[in-house]
């Protein structure tokens, strides 16, 4: 049960809306004034009064004044007779009885409210006049407020919530006096029940300055009506309905503009940090090391990571991933200049603002959640040969015959062994060996409550995810305490949160190594012990990856994070607010990797090099101080909002890494037991920023609006000649629907708003010390007893953040009384001083330095459509559909010579089993460059390739020309979801689609065309490869051993649909749970990564399998 307390201010509203005699009004007004004065000593339980011949009403008023309680009664119920009374520290109850007993009245006290009624016993006349009344709650814009707390005063269990459409019905009996309606962020209102009136429409007025349709940008809460930016707001409810294993996936399930790059290798690895970008890639690798690694690693997206802000403070991607989703109130994705300009040099890649739940006043509310989650490995994309077919394929490829007779004996013996195994029924499904159904659980307990002055939330959660690959897991325990202390105009709040993370990676090795294993091999011998190696062709020994799974190896990480935010807000005068906050966060962690000397990785190592231990410890600490002054007011038809913010931040990171090799035996698993160890390696990074931000928005008559932001930020990582960066945005908009001609002639349009903005934000995506002229000491040598230091790099005092200029045009449209809402944006962004490595002539002493040189364009659009198919509030039946789509194109406009040279050097290279990424002016960062192959030569079964001179031949060596076949990213990335709510039951189904991107089918390339037949391969090897002359086949002969590199035959235009999530929720009917004193009980069941349909049939989850992720949760609030 939950009862919200009256807000002091609410009394003004109450008086104004009362239709009661003047005297009464006056009385209550006086009561109110008195109340304000004594508000500091509320709940005084003793009354002292000495009155002679005083009006009863006045005495009641004094009781109210002393007690601090509100007194309610029906008109004319209390006769205004004059009485005398003398009380000295009497209890409230006694005082009231003394006054009311004479009039045969009774009272009830509940919380701070005293309700006076006629004594039912005294009057035996049945007055059970039952009235069915309907209460509908709306906000100041006449929009229904769902979930408002409605209470009939004087009834013990009479709290209810307004429904989806803001209405509820209840039965009022004679004697009920008033209805109280409260809703977070709005002024609580009390309405008197009038005899005969059955429809009550209650309009709640928002508490000034908070939550009045604002856009939370993490810096300022800007009025939405004057906001020109492009944002996606995700509510707590949406998070529940799209809930997934982690918050990042949940966000991606909702908004396609929040792009998690699909990485086929990592599958459902719970420990893998995803690569995320918002609105495309605007950075290129800046250092030469990264430039040279760009082919091999997935480094590109790391440069485009958006900024994550949790309750106003920057946090790591990892922290967001490990957050408990139940702790999140909302997530806002800021995409364009207008919304990110306030973040200045950090905002160019987009900003994700996460707000955690805040305590609300009321009786202590306890909520508990318990859940079970499963990770069931999904092998449906694998289509491998079984033992018999594998043997057949080997024979077809002539693996058991040789022209060299001495070897034939061994090959025949090998064949017989393998045949024997097949005949004895050995047909190992290697996919199952390292995998398991991971069973995890999650629990959460939260307590919150408090009153007008003090509110609190205490929560703790534990979330355990056990991965589908044996030994991989991620456990998070999070706890927090939030306290708010509110004085009249001042609010203190403190939020302390602690997180513990323990994770481990599987020591069973890459999933891919199991896929490769021949099914006629058995991983364990008769006694169940793992076999170390298998005999393969030509004397090759193949190690059994499962062998390592039996060893005491480990690969584990842990970290602890503590975060504290203290805020102080002061409402100086109406509309003017001063907010200050200090945030501090500190994280310490470590990673330990041990490979025992028996590990198959060391089979060929000498004794002293068997075994490995890598240990690294890390530490990071951030603090942020900020002061905010905001002012909002309405003058006539104009509304103005202005804000000023000053802030500074510091972030430090340290790591220490030590490795040891050589261990005596498997039991010695401490790094100190290593025979050799390396020099400890440390890294240290510190960055500081200081900045000031001013923002302003103006709205005229609800129709025309402009907004602007200016930010000046100083950053320690900028060159000393360009310490300060200026960032700004300006936007304008028009709420067409507020124009007369729309209101009068097209009432179907409930809202139509057009907006445009332009601005610049920056990217700080370079190593903080890149701009400095720094010296490195020579650590391992001396010069005749002396130490020496020399320059590390050519410092660039002018090095700047990179600027991203962005334009965004958007439209928001609501039609047919909000049955259909559409929101869309088109954007164009240019990063024209992208940080990159530039060449210097070697006579400078260094041949390269870091410079602002590159230019990258991104343009695209996103759209979101939501519609109701069914909306029947009376039956609590709703069916809605939401669809959204995003597209982004990207062009490298200008590159430095160093970049071009690095590209040139690699251009004709080929990556075995992969695609060589290139940076080419005029092309996209995501452009795919592949060889050209018209097909397989029907005569020889060899691959035909286009040669440098344009001819076609089967020659596969030398610098073969490449063509670009298009961008690897989808042309359209879409989400589609549908939600049905029927009574207590809610269901949500979410789909995703990727269309139009160019993808290489790696399974066809690596497991069919380049199939290594000595290992297990895709079944298509048997069916589709060239076998005899004149075969027109897609794939080369089984007998050809040349490597085929990625070429256009393996590139397809992707059409992929995914069923990402199904969430079902059922809330137990109130009447059942009330008996248990519960407020709400919800059972949810969800399933993630359910289905995947693609025209590119390839093995998915190559290093770590994908998993089906069902989960079941029970949550209760009481």
């Amino acid at each position: 049960m939950q009862i919200n307390l009256c807000d002091k201010i609410s009394r003004i509203a109450r008086i104004l809306s009362y239709k009661i005699p003047l005297a009464m009004k006056l009385t209550i007004f006086i009561l109110f004034c008195a109340f304000l004065q004594v508000s500091a000593k509320v709940n005084a339980q003793f009354i002292s009064l000495s009155e002679k011949n005083t009006s009863t009403l006045v005495i009641l008023e004094k009781i109210q004044e002393q007690s601090g309680y509100d007194i309610f009664f029906k008109n004319n119920l209390v006769r205004d007779v004059k009485i005398s009374i003398n009380l000295n520290r009497a209890s409230l109850q006694n005082a009231l009885r003394l006054v009311l007993d004479k009039q045969n009245l009774v009272f009830t006290i509940e919380d701070n409210i005293i309700t006076i009624k006629e004594n039912p016993k005294a009057d035996n006349v049945q007055k059970q006049l039952i009235e069915k009344i309907k209460i509908s709650v709306v906000n100041d814009q006449d929009k229904p407020l769902a979930g408002a707390t409605i209470q009939i005063l004087g009834k013990k269990i009479a709290t209810m919530a307004s429904g989806y459409d803001g209405t509820t019905t209840t039965t009022a009996i004679e004697g009920d006096t008033a209805i109280r309606v409260s809703y977070t962020g709005f002024i609580t209102k009390v309405i008197k029940i009038e005899s005969g009136k059955i429809n009550y429409r209650i309009k709640l007025i928002p508490i000034e300055g908070t939550l009045k349709d604002v856009v939370i940008t993490g810096m300022f809460d800007k009025p939405k009506e004057s906001f020109t930016g492009a944002v996606t707001v995700i509510s707590k409810e949406q998070i529940k309905m799209f809930g997934n294993r982690n918050l990042l996936r949940t966000i991606a399930n909702i908004d396609p503009a929040f792009n998690i790059e699909e990485r086929n290798t990592i599958g459902s690895n719970p420990n893998a940090l995803p690569d995320i970008s918002v609105r495309g890639s605007s950075s290129i690798p800046s250092g030469l090391t990264d430039l040279n690694n760009v082919q091999a690693t997935n480094i590109r997206n790391a440069y485009n990571l958006p900024l994550f802000i949790l309750d106003g403070f920057e946090v790591s991607l990892q922290r967001i991933m490990d957050m408990n989703q139940n702790d999140v109130e909302s997530v806002v994705i800021l995409k364009d200049a207008s919304s990110t300009a306030a973040y200045g040099a950090r905002g160019a890649n987009g900003v994700i603002v996460v707000t955690s739940i805040k305590p609300v006043a009321g009786k202590m509310r306890i909520s508990f959640t318990a859940g079970l989650n499963l990770e069931i490995p999904d092998f449906s994309s694998y289509n491998l040969l079984d033992a018999a077919d594998k043997l057949k394929a080997e024979q077809l490829a002539d693996l058991y015959t040789t022209n060299f007779p001495p070897s034939q004996v061994a090959l025949t013996a090998l064949y017989n062994t393998n045949l024997n195994a097949v005949q004895n029924g050995v047909n190992t499904n290697w996919l199952k060996i390292p995998t398991q159904t991971g069973i995890g659980q999650n629990h959460q307990l939260s307590l919150s409550g408090g009153d007008n002055e003090f509110r609190y939330t205490v929560n703790g959660s534990y979330n355990q995810v056990t991965g589908a690959l044996k030994g991989s897991k991620r456990d998070n325990a999070n706890g927090g305490i939030t306290m708010m202390y509110l004085l009249k105009k001042i609010r203190f709040s403190n939020n302390l949160s602690v997180g513990f993370n323990n994770s481990s990676n599987s020591t069973w090795g890459s999933f891919g190594t199991y896929v490769d294993m021949n099914p006629y091999w058995s991983p364990y011998d008769e006694n169940g012990n793992p076999i170390k190696q298998f005999n393969s062709f030509n004397g090759v020994m193949v190690t059994n990856p499962a062998y390592n799974g039996s060893l005491p190896d480990f690969d584990k990480s842990k970290y602890t994070v503590v975060r504290n935010t203290t805020a102080f807000d002061w409402d100086i005068i109406k509309g003017l607010k001063w907010s200050n906050s200090v945030g501090f966060s500190r994280q310490t962690g470590s990673t330990d990797v041990f490979q025992s000397p028996s590990n198959t990785a060391f089979i060929y190592n000498t004794g002293n090099a068997k075994g490995y231990y890598g240990q690294s410890s890390n530490f990071s600490q951030e603090y942020q101080i900020r002061s905010n002054l905001t002012y909002g007011t309405v003058i006539g038809k104009s509304s103005i909002y202005a804000g000023l913010n000053l802030q500074s931040t510091e972030s430090k990171q340290n790591t220490l890494t030590v490795t040891g090799t050589g261990f005596s035996n498997d039991k010695q698993s401490n790094i100190s037991q290593a025979i050799n160890s390396t020099r400890p390696a440390t890294t240290e990074l510190t960055t500081r920023t200081a900045g000031a931000i001013a923002t302003m928005s103006y709205n005229y008559d609800g129709r025309y609006f402009v907004d602007g932001t200016y930010n000046v930020t100083g950053g320690s990582s900028f060159g000393s000649n360009s310490r300060y960066g200026n960032f700004w945005s300006a936007g304008l908009g028009w709420t067409v629907s507020n124009e007369r001609f729309i209101k009068d002639h097209i009432p179907q349009i409930s809202m139509l708003r057009l907006r445009y903005n332009y601005g610049v934000s920056g990217g700080l995506n370079f190593s903080p010390y890149q701009s400095l002229s720094t010296y490195l000491y020579v650590l391992t040598e001396r010069y005749r007893n002396l130490t020496g230091a020399s320059l590390r790099a050519f410092g660039n005092k002018d090095l700047k953040w990179q600027n991203t200029y962005q334009q965004n045009a958007g439209i928001d449209l609501n039609l047919f009384d909000n049955w259909l809402s559409i929101s869309g944006n088109y954007y164009f962004k240019t990063t024209n001083n992208a940080i990159t490595t530039a060449y210097l002539s070697p006579a400078h002493g260094f041949d390269n330095y870091i410079e602002n040189f590159g230019k990258i364009n991104n343009y695209g659009a996103d759209i979101n459509v939501q519609t109701f198919l069914i909306k029947k509030p009376e039956k609590n039946f709703y069916w809605s559909i939401t669809a959204s789509a995003a597209t982004n194109r990207n062009v490298l406009v200008r590159l430095s010579d160093a970049m071009k040279a690095a590209n040139k050097a690699a251009e004709t290279g080929n990556v075995y089993g992969g695609v060589l990424y290139q940076f080419v002016e005029g092309k996209s960062i995501d452009e795919l460059f592949v060889l050209q192959s018209p097909g397989v030569d029907p005569a020889t079964g060899r691959v035909l390739l286009v040669q440098p001179d344009g001819s076609v031949s089967t020659n596969s060596t030398g610098a073969l020309p490449k063509i670009s076949v298009g961008q690897g990213v989808p042309k359209v990335d879409g989400r589609f979801s549908t939600m049905v709510r029927l009574g207590q039951f809610t269901a949500n189904i979410g789909f995703a689609a990727r269309l139009g991107g160019k993808k290489v089918n790696y399974t066809l390339l690596n497991k069919v065309e380049n199939a290594v037949l000595t290992r297990n391969v895709d079944r298509r090897v048997l069916d589709f490869r060239w076998t005899k002359p004149d075969d027109i086949s897609q794939f080369k002969s089984l007998k050809v051993s040349d490597v085929t590199y990625a070429n256009n035959r393996f590139v397809s235009t992707e059409t992929t649909f995914m069923l990402n999530n199904i969430n079902l929720a059922y809330s137990l009917p109130t009447k059942w749970i009330k008996r248990l004193n519960l407020e709400q009980v919800t059972i949810t069941s969800s399933m993630s990564n359910i289905a995947y349909w693609s025209n590119i049939e390839q093995e998915r989850g190559t290093s770590y399998p994908y998993a089906l992720q069902p989960s079941f949760t029970l949550s209760a609030t009481f």
Binding site: S648, N654, T682, T683, E684, L685, T686, T687, R688, T689, A690, G714, G715, S716, F718, S720, R723, P768, Y769, L772, S773, T774, Y775, L776, Y777, V778, E781, R782, Y783, R784, N785, L786, T787, G788, A789, S790, L791, R792, F794, G795, N796, Y839, L840, S841, P842, A843, H844, G845, F846, D847, Y849, D897
Partner: protein
């Protein structure tokens, strides 16, 4: 005030590296920056690098590089055929390292020009050394990539870099380049004469691991022979003047070195002796005007040891260069052994043998100094630049020190004799090619081709050329 505290807040000292401003905020920082330059020089002046035994010595035909190894860098160098990727791949890092030495010197000189914390003699000595290093590094660049000194022409060859700036560097003509170089040397000479302890004391008394003189309490002031000391600058002056054809001044500077005496009246620099060889001082440390200290060098696969890659056929070396004089001290500096590769006996030099501290014989007397300017060169300069009678006097002293009788030199035998002496003297020290270039010799000893300007002037490395284009 706000802006200055803001500036302070936004200026960060990294933890694992040191910013230039932080480094030059302490006395130690200047020393470290200077010593860092010498350590940097190890990249280009260690044994077996291009400028000692691995590059110019092949170009001067000193090492065996047969046609069967035609795909090798050494063969290309031996053929003086520089338009190949092998040579370009070598000269690119050589060029870059050399200018990196210069950049580090310039950064230090910039810091010195504005400093207020060093005592005068420390500032003066540091500045003198940095200027001398700058001149030394530039000189080797112009000797390699610059013109024949007899006929330099007016072409701009290389930049003489004295600034730290990332804008395009202007190229100097030979004359302006050499003028700047001489200016640096003259200034270094003045500063070091005033502040270098070697001017007052003998070099050997300064070669200590402790502060031997109370007036010089810091180790900075010791091992002057491994630093660009006053006499190193004089030696370099002599070398530069000779290169520029200024024989009078070359002789003047060479004589100043030869005649230098310590407070006891003993010569500061003395010739290497046979006893040095038995104490493994194969590099004749007493001769070093400037030697680069190296800590650990494994020569076993390069010019000494059984797998030596740099060797010469012993019979032709003995007949053509030593003219049968096996008693020559420098002949005793050689290892003569059977080759696993060719029928002849081969000669390798022991100069850099036994410099690997971990595996060298114990006790290790090696002095770990790569000779870059030596007393013997001063004598050769005196001989070349003096009137014939005086030349014969110096030649007699010189030959006596080498343990062989001195034939009387005449105007016609002077140059062939000097060439032979240079070869004998500077095996694995990289100087012989420059001697040939200075003299414009068209028929190097043992060469199968004519050498002209195309063979003596190396093309600029491709990275430098491509950027300029």
């Amino acid at each position: 005030m706000i802006s200055s505290s803001c500036k302070k807040f936004l200026t960060i000292e990294p933890g694992t590296e040191t910013t230039a401003s932080q480094l030059f905020a302490s006395k130690q920082g200047y020393t470290d920056a200077l010593v860092g330059i010498y350590m940097n020089m190890r990249k280009n002046y260690s044994p077996a690098t291009f400028l000692t035994s691995g590059g110019t010595d092949f170009m001067a035909q000193l090492w065996y590089a047969p046609a069967t190894t035609s795909y090798n860098l050494t063969y290309k160098l031996n053929q003086n055929n520089y338009a190949t990727t092998e040579v370009d791949d070598t000269t690119n890092p050589l060029f870059l390292n050399q200018y990196n030495i210069i950049l580090n010197a310039n950064t230090l000189l910039n810091a010195l020009s504005t400093q207020h914390i060093l005592e005068e003699r420390l500032a003066g000595c540091t500045e003198g050394e940095a200027l001398a290093i700058r001149a030394f590094a530039h000189f080797d660049l112009i000797r390699l990539f610059g013109p024949m000194p007899a006929n330099p022409g007016s072409k701009a060859y290389l930049p003489y870099v004295t600034i730290v700036d990332r804008n395009t560097l202007p190229y100097d003509t030979y004359s302006s380049y050499m003028a700047k170089l001489s200016e640096d040397l003259n200034k270094a000479e003045q500063l070091l004469m005033k502040y270098d302890p070697i001017y007052k004391y003998g070099p050997s008394s300064l070669n200590t691991d402790y502060a031997a003189y109370t007036e010089y309490p810091d180790l900075f002031w010791y091992y002057r022979q491994n630093r660009m000391n006053y006499y190193a600058v004089l030696g370099l002056q002599a070398r530069v003047k000779l290169w520029m054809g200024d024989k009078a001044n070359a002789a003047k500077y060479a004589k100043m070195v030869i005649d230098a005496v310590d407070p006891n009246g003993a010569k500061k620099f003395t010739f290497g002796t046979e006893r040095n060889l038995s104490s493994k001082n194969y590099v004749f440390f007493t001769e070093h005007l400037f030697g680069l200290n190296i800590e650990n060098f494994d020569d076993s696969r390069i010019s000494s040891g059984s797998n030596a890659q740099q060797f010469i056929q012993q019979p032709k070396l003995l007949s053509d260069v030593y003219q049968g004089e096996r008693s020559d001290l420098r002949y005793k500096q050689l290892n003569i052994k059977k080759s696993p590769f060719i029928p002849d006996s081969i000669a390798t030099t022991k100069k850099y043998a036994d410099m690997l501290q971990s595996t060298s014989s114990v006790p290790n007397y090696n002095v770990f100094s790569v000779p870059l300017i030596r007393l013997s060169e001063m004598y050769l300069i005196m001989i070349e630049c003096s009137p014939i009678d005086l030349a014969n006097t110096y030649y007699a002293t010189y030959r006596a020190a080498k343990g062989v009788p001195a034939p009387i030199l005449t105007a016609s035998t002077l140059q062939p004799t000097l060439i032979r002496e240079y070869i004998k003297e500077f095996y694995a020290e990289g100087q012989v090619f420059f001697m040939y270039k200075r003299l414009g010799v068209t028929n190097m000893l043992w060469s199968d081709h004519v050498t002209g300007e195309a063979q003596y002037v190396l093309p600029l490395p491709s990275k430098e050329v491509n950027i300029l284009r």
